[in-house]
Symmetry: D2
Subunit: 306 residues, 4 copies
C-alpha cells in the first residue's frame, strides 16, 4: 500500500495541468496549486501517506458529510422532509431547482442542501455552540483534538458569500428556516472553514468504511445501515454535476470540497483522503480525482465489481 | 436463498397499494397489476425464483442496458461524444435539458439518451438488422433462444410515441443523427418491446455481476472494467429522477422499465430480476422496489457496505 | 367622463368575486377587499373620480415607474447595462432567469429589476437621502406634498422580505451592486411602501400621457421620447407574466402593484388610476383590471386603434 | 412621405453591417443580403415605396399574422384554449416552456404557437385545401391575385424542419392535435413559404391599421376590437425575445420573419412593410428594424405618444 501511494504521489508531481485554484474565496486563491497529498486509512488502524499529508487545507464541502451525519443523528429520517436525496444535475450553487421545487434542496451536498442541514442541526442553538459540537464530533472521528476552524477562511467566506446568502434567504422565504438566516449562514461558513490534513481527514472517514464503527475506539458512530446510506448519498451527489463522472471513473463514494480535498470510501477496505488545490471546471480537485482513479486501478477497489 | 425469495413473494402478495399500471401505452395498460415475480441468478448457475417467474412482460427501458452494452462494444468510449453519463434530475421523457445542452442527452438511460444510443448502434443498418442483432445478443446473455419482441406492444408504442418522436427530432435538429429519424424510432420502440420473464432477465444480467463474463459459457461479454462502468451508470441513472431514492433504499445498481420490471446487480453475488406491473409516480415498479429493498435487507447485499 | 367613472364604480360594487388580498405582507393582508376607486386625470387639469378616491393605499410596484424615471434621468441609456427591457414571462419574484442570465434582470418592473434600479439610483447615497429624493419627485409629479411613506408597511415588508433579499444577494454575488445589499433593500422596501390615493396617483402619471410634460407646471419631466419609452416598458412588462393579458384586454400601458393599484396611461388622453385590493392569481388587481377594461370599452381608448 | 421613404432607403444603402442571412433554411441562405425595400400603405389607398419593392421574398413568420386572423375567425376566443397570449421571453423555437406548461404554447407567434394555430384552422381539412384558403385570404387582403407559395422554399423547410417537427410531436403527445402531425407541419411549412413583395405585404396589413376594414373594398375583415387585439399580440410577441426591444425602439406593433421582412402597423395611420434579408442574433431583420426606427422618428408615429 505504501508503494501504491508513493507511486501515485510521484505520478501526480509530473502532471502539468493541475487545474485552477478556486478564486471566489480570496483566502483559498492564495494557496499554492503545486501541492498534493494522499492518505489511506485502513480499519485496522494502519495509515499510509504520501505527499504533504501534514499540510492543513480547508475541507470546505467535505464538512457536509459530517454535518449530515450529525443531522441524521439528531433528526433521523425526519431530516428528509427538509432536503431531498436525488442528484441535482446542476452546479453546486444553483438556485433554479429551489424555485421549481418550493425551496426544498435536492440533496444535502449542494450548497442549498447543506445550508438547510445547518439550520436543521442548530435547533435554536447559537452558531458558536453548534460549531463546537461539529468540531468535537470531527475530532472524535479523527481521534485528533488539534482539528480547528481557520478563522481567516471563515471571514473570507462570509465576506464573499452573497450567493450562499441568496440561497439561504430563498429557502427562508418559504418559511423553511427555524433559525435566523444570518446565524445559519455563520454556522455554514464556519464549518466549511475547518482545516484538516489528509491524515486527519482519512481517519475521520473510517467509520463510513467500517460499517459505522470508529476503529480506534470501537464506538458505534452510526448504525451499519446509516453508514451504507451516507455512502450512497456521497456516491450519488458528492461531486455535484460531476457525480456521474466520478462514479464512472473512480467507482467509490466520495465527497469533494473547493479547497481541493476529496474524501473517498472503499467500504470494508479503507477511507482515503486526497488533496490538491487545483480544480476542474465543475469545482472538483483535478489531481485528486486523477489520483483516486489511479488508486482504484491499482487496488481494484470499486463498489461496482467483486 | 429459496426461502428468502419465497418470503418476499409472500409479503408482496399482501401489499394493498400495488401502484398503477402505465396507461400511456395501451398494450401495457391491459396487464393485471396483481402479479409479482422474482428471480435470483447466481454466477454459479443456480437460479431461485418465486411468483409468476415464467410470465412474459415487456422489459421496456431495461433493454437500454443491453443496447448500451452493444453500443460500447461498437463505439467504445467514443459513444460519450453522443451522450453524457450524469444523472439528469429530470423525468424520463424530459426535453428541457436537451435544449439547454445542445441536443446531447444527459445519460443513456433517459429516453433521449437511449434513442441516441439506438442511432449510434445502427451505423447505416436497417432497424430489422439491428433488432436481430439486439435479440441475438440478449438471447446469448440469457442463454435462451425463445426471447422475442412483442409486436403488439411495439405497434402500440409507435402509435403513442409522439413524445419520443419529439425527442428524436429535437436531437436530429442539431445534426446529431446518422440515420433517418423514423428508423431510429422504429429501432427504439421495438427493442423496448422485447418480452422476457424474470428468469430470462436475471440470467441476461449475470455478466454484470460476474466481472463481464457469461457464467454459462465463460465467454467474456465485456471487460471487467466495462462491467463496472455499466453498473456505475445503472446506479447513477437507472431509475430516472428516482435514482437517488433507489440507491438509498436498495443500494444496488438497477434499471427499471415501465413494464414493471427491474434488473438489479449485486456485483460478485447475483443478478436479480423482479417484476410487478404497478408503478410509483416516477414510473418505477412499486412492488419491485419494495421487494428489492426487502431482499437487500435479508441478504445484507449492498455496494455501500462490506 | 364623470358619468363613465360613476358607472364603472357602480358596476364594480356589484362584482362578487373581488379576488384575494395579498397575504405575504401582513400589513397589506389587513386591508378591506371591498373597496374600489378610480380617478381619471386629463392633461388639461380636469380630474374625475369615483369610489373611495381619497383613501390611501400602498402603491407597491407602481413606485417602480417613478424610480425607473429617476434612474433614466441619472444614468440615461447606460441604465440598460444593469437591467434589460424584455418581458420576462415569469412571475414577479422569479430567480430562475437571473441564474440563466448572469444576474441581469429582464426588465425594471420585476422585483429583481427594480432592486437593481434602486441600487443604480443610490450612487453611494444613504437610503434616507434617496427616499427623500424619490418622495420629492412624486410629490412634484402629483403636485401634492402630503404624499408619504407608510412606515408600518415598510417595516412589514422588511420583516417578510426574504425572497427579495435572496434576489438582491443573488445579483450582488455577480458583483453587480454598488451599494451595500441591506441599504439597497431598505430603499426598495420603503419606496414600495409609499401610500397614495387614486387622485394623487393619477396626477403623478400625467407626464406620461402628456409627452413628458407636467401639465400643472408645464415643466418637462422627461423628453417626449423618454415618456414614449417608459410607456412602452409599462405595456410590455408592467403586469409581470400577465402583461400580454392586460395588453389584450385593456390595450393601454399600465403598471400594477400588489397593494391593488394600477396606473394606466392613454397617451394624449389621460392618466388613469384604479384601486381595489383583491388580486388575481398573478398578483394584479382583479377589479382594477376589469374596471380598466370597461373604461377602455366605454371611451374607445387604446394604443392599438385609431 | 415619398421623401421619407427615399431618405430611409438611401441611409440603409450606406449601412455596412447588414446582419447575416438565415442559414438553417438552405433556400433562404442563397438570398443576396444587399437588398432593401420599404412600402407604406395608407388607408386612403396611397402607396409609397423605395428600394426593391417589387422583389419577392419569403414572408416566413409574418404569415402567422394572417393564419391567426383566420383562426380567430373560425374559432373566435375559443382559440385561446389552444395557445396563450403572453410574451415568451424565449427564442422562437424554444421547447422548454412547452414542457413546463403542458404543451400549450405561450403565444401564436412563436413557432410552437403557430403550429398549434395551423392545427386549429385545419379542422379535418387537408393541407392543400387550407393552403388554398390562406392564399385566398391574403390575396383578398392585398387585393392581388398573383401572391403564391414558393415551392422550393417549402421543400427546403420541410427537409430541414426537424426542430419544428419536434415541437409539433411534443404538443401532439399531450393529445392537443386534431389533425395528423405531418399534415399540420405540411400546412405550416407551406404558409411560411408564401412569397410577397413589400407592396403586397403593406397592402395586406392595411386592415389592421384601419379598424379591421379593407380600404380597397370597405369590407370588414375583422371587427375593430379584433384588429386592436391582433395589434396588441403583434406588439407583445411579434419579435420573439426581441419584442421588448422593438417596442422600445420602434413603438409600433410589428411581426418579423426570418426571410428578413417586417410588417408594422401604425393604427389609423398606415401599414408599413420593410424587407432586408440580413438578421440580428435574435432572428429579426437588422436593417428592417433600423429602417422602422428611423421611420417612426421621422413621422413621429408611435402607439406610445400623442
Amino acid at each position: 500500500m505504501q508503494r501504491i501511494v508513493d507511486e501515485i504521489a510521484e505520478q501526480m508531481a509530473n502532471v502539468s495541468d493541475k487545474g485552477s485554484v478556486a478564486t471566489y474565496i480570496p483566502q483559498l486563491a492564495q494557496v499554492d496549486p503545486n501541492q498534493f497529498a494522499i492518505t489511506v486509512a485502513l480499519p485496522n488502524g494502519e495509515i499510509y501517506s504520501a505527499g504533504c499529508s501534514q499540510t492543513l487545507f480547508s475541507i470546505q464541502s467535505i464538512s457536509k458529510v459530517f454535518t449530515l451525519t450529525l443531522a441524521l443523528g439528531k433528526l433521523g429520517e425526519a431530516l428528509w422532509a427538509r432536503v431531498g436525496r436525488e442528484p441535482s444535475g446542476d452546479p453546486f450553487n444553483s438556485i433554479v431547482q429551489l424555485e421549481h421545487e418550493n425551496g426544498r434542496p435536492r440533496n444535502p451536498f449542494i450548497n442549498a442542501g447543506a445550508i438547510a442541514v445547518a439550520d436543521a442541526i442548530m435547533q435554536g442553538h447559537k452558531p458558536k455552540e453548534i460549531l463546537a459540537e461539529i468540531l468535537r464530533f470531527i475530532r472524535f472521528l479523527a481521534n485528533d483534538d488539534a482539528i480547528n476552524i481557520d478563522e481567516k477562511v471563515a471571514q473570507s467566506e462570509q465576506e464573499t458569500g452573497n450567493r450562499n446568502a441568496s440561497l439561504a434567504f430563498f429557502m427562508a422565504s418559504f418559511g423553511h428556516f427555524e433559525n435566523p438566516v444570518d446565524e445559519v449562514l455563520g454556522t455554514y461558513f464556519h464549518h466549511c472553514s475547518i482545516a484538516m490534513n489528509t491524515v486527519q481527514l482519512a481517519k475521520a472517514g473510517r467509520f463510513l468504511a467500517n460499517n459505522g464503527i470508529n476503529p480506534d475506539t470501537n464506538c458505534v458512530v452510526v448504525s451499519s445501515k446509516r453508514a451504507k446510506r451516507i455512502n450512497s448519498l456521497m456516491l450519488m451527489c458528492g461531486h455535484y454535476d460531476g457525480s456521474g463522472e466520478f462514479a464512472y471513473r473512480v467507482g467509490l463514494p466520495g465527497k469533494s470540497g473547493v479547497g481541493g480535498g476529496i474524501l473517498a470510501i472503499a467500504p470494508g477496505e479503507a477511507s482515503i483522503a486526497v488533496w490538491s488545490p487545483g480544480l476542474d471546471i465543475i469545482g472538483n480537485s483535478k489531481l485528486g480525482t486523477q489520483a483516486l482513479e489511479l488508486f482504484t486501478s491499482k487496488t481494484g477497489w470499486s463498489v461496482f465489481s467483486v
